[in-house]
């Protein structure tokens, strides 16, 4: 691999031992995938800071880099951590577990990363421009950055993410290169009737991710009213059922003004038509539990946005919660702050809704709650729920989720 003089210096340890180790990992990765050079990135997003996901090895790794005095060379944001940093005690998180998180958080902060603590950094973090070369981890954020924004990142994961940040370099391979961003599979959605809801787009993403696996789909037939929040749900779902790192939506995403451009003039290798029946089947697959008894309703995977939380507040206005079921909304501390100032968060909290920031239901310690079944409008939560927590998940739309938590007599029109 061809390295610049400065990159050679990093590899030789002239920029410190921490940089040297990070460079060694980046060069190994590049060699493995046949990259002939490295390129600079302007920013990074770190996924490896989630203690519950990576365990003790992840903590040892982070503290080792810290002890080698590694520092990030480009602006670097941090993904969710495994607890609400301010309110973890209120949520019943085990103190010993919280202590591990404190160490993990401290290690990444010591390396100079920015504590946005969110899995949706594209809504409250460093937002790249179209075409910008970046190094992001967190599968939903990778897909959103590549597809919706048109920035360029590979599917980085735990540990390479911070190595990219420390060196400010990535191998010039994969989705960093224009020619590798061409569509491969045509997915035609012209014959389905779209619903204006996060769960509909989550189901569609779950289906398409499962169908195309790691290929780049070009999806046509989408309505113009699709929002960033719809696409957020789509991305999280498609990156759970598949290994999708980039999609194009004709007339919606920036590299797909038309079908031909999205395929870079090439022919699709495969064509798939999405039917209403396929959507229904995909929706059924997302529930591992039945309706009926639900212990809690979970919203915010990926982290809920300002409009999403405002919508929930509007749906619950003039309603009382049942009291025997929890409603937890996961969001970023930025969104939490804005909506605290605007009065929406206090309004929801007064009703007994928990607004949980910095973290994620499937990546924390919640043993004390003894939940058995939860309801969610997130396909990613539903997909990982049993494997990560042992709980059953009921996948439902936002209306059904809200009906599950407020008093029956308070239904609209009654």
């Amino acid at each position: 691999m061809k390295l610049t003089r400065f990159e050679e210096d990093m590899l030789a340890g002239k920029e410190g031992k921490g940089t040297q180790v990070a460079m060694e990992i980046i060069v190994r990765l590049g060699e493995l995938y046949g990259a002939s050079e490295l390129i600079p990135v302007s920013q990074a997003h770190i996924d490896g800071c989630l203690y519950a996901a990576v365990g003790e090895a992840g903590l040892i790794f982070a503290e080792k880099l810290q002890s080698l005095d590694a520092k990030v060379r480009v602006p670097t944001t941090l993904n969710a951590t495994s607890r609400d940093i301010d309110d973890w005690q209120e949520h019943g998180v085990d103190p010993e577990f919280a202590e591990k998180n404190t160490r993990m958080e401290s290690a990444y902060l010591a390396m100079g990363a920015i504590p946005v603590w969110t899995c949706a950094p594209y809504q409250a973090g460093l937002i790249p421009r179209f075409g910008e070369q970046i190094a992001w981890a967190e599968s939903n954020a990778i897909l959103y950055a590549n597809s919706v924004i048109g920035a360029r990142t590979e599917r980085y994961g735990d540990y390479t993410d911070i190595c990219c940040a420390i060196t400010g370099r990535v191998p010039f391979f994969g989705l960093h290169k224009s020619e590798n961003r061409a569509g491969q599979v045509l997915v035609d959605c012209s014959s389905i009737s779209f619903e204006n809801s996060a769960d509909y787009f989550a189901v569609l993403g779950y289906l398409i991710g499962d169908l195309v696996k790691d290929k780049i789909p070009v999806i046509k037939g989408l309505p113009q009213w699709v929002t960033g929040d719809h696409l957020k749900s789509f991305c999280a779902a498609a990156a759970s059922s598949g290994a999708v790192a980039l999609f194009h939506m004709v007339g919606i995403t920036p590299e797909a003004p038309d079908e031909q451009t999205a395929f870079q003039g090439r022919k699709p290798g495969e064509e798939i038509e999405i039917t209403g029946e396929m959507i229904s089947k995909s929706r059924e697959q997302l529930s591992s539990g039945q309706g009926g008894h639900v212990d809690a309703v979970l919203i915010g995977c990926p982290h809920a946005s300002v409009p999403e939380i405002m919508q929930i507040a509007a749906m619950l206005r003039d309603k009382k919660l049942r009291g025997d079921r929890e409603l937890w909304i996961y969001t970023s501390r930025a969104v939490n702050h804005w909506l605290t100032v605007s009065g929406v968060v206090p309004e929801l909290k007064a009703k007994g809704v928990k607004i949980i920031k910095d973290t994620c239901f499937i990546n924390t310690d919640l043993r004390m709650w003894n939940f058995a079944t939860v309801m969610t409008n997130s396909a990613k939560y539903a997909h990982y729920m049993t494997g990560r927590t042992g709980l059953k998940a009921v996948f439902a739309g936002l209306d059904e989720c809200m009906h599950a938590v407020y008093k029956e007599s308070e239904k609209p029109g009654v």
Binding site: V21, E24, I25, R28, L29, L32, Y33, D47, G48, L50, A53, V54, G55, E56, A57, G58, I60, F61, K64, A137, E138, S139, I142, E154, R155, Y156, G157, D158, Y159, T160, D161, G174, G209, K213, D214, A239, S240, S241, G242, A243, Q285, S288, I362, H383, Y384, T386, G387, R388
Partner: protein
């Protein structure tokens, strides 16, 4: 009947053990418990399988970017498979293995084979991986 399958080396190394084969895409995050060494995704065709000390074959990866983290912790705890066979090995998995080598000196060989050869793999068979080849017994 024993046979030899030629493989592409993703992460170098030799290994020997019993084969566990899934025909589905797999995510270590949410699919594998690093404390138990078991497959915990109920929809998996090998749900409940013990991967500890086994040679784990699945065609392709999927899902979360935390897979690298899960692999590293499994290696630390000694609950990881001893080698992985894919048709296409994804970067997130390879990274976990590279970091394990560079930072900790732990080794998990990863190799890839053709779709056609993958069909020859059957759970329970004894396998030796050596010099970029799979010996299937």
């Amino acid at each position: 009947m024993s046979c030899i399958i030629k493989a592409n080396t993703v992460i170098e190394g030799d290994a020997e053990g019993e084969l566990v084969v899934s025909r589905q895409t797999f995510s270590f995050f949410g699919g594998f418990d690093f404390n138990l060494g078991e497959v915990v995704e109920p929809k998996s065709d090998i749900y409940g399988a013990d991967l500890k000390g086994k040679i784990f074959a699945y065609p392709r990866g999927k899902g979360s970017s935390s897979t690298a983290g899960v692999i590293l912790e499994a290696l630390r705890q000694g609950t990881a498979p001893v080698a992985i066979i894919n048709v296409e090995s994804e970067k997130i998995l390879a990274v976990g293995a590279i970091v394990a080598q560079v930072m900790f000196g732990w080794n998990i060989p990863i190799i890839s084979i053709t779709d056609e050869d993958f069909q020859k793999l059957i759970s329970g068979r004894h396998v030796i991986i050596s010099n970029g080849q799979i010996h299937l017994f």
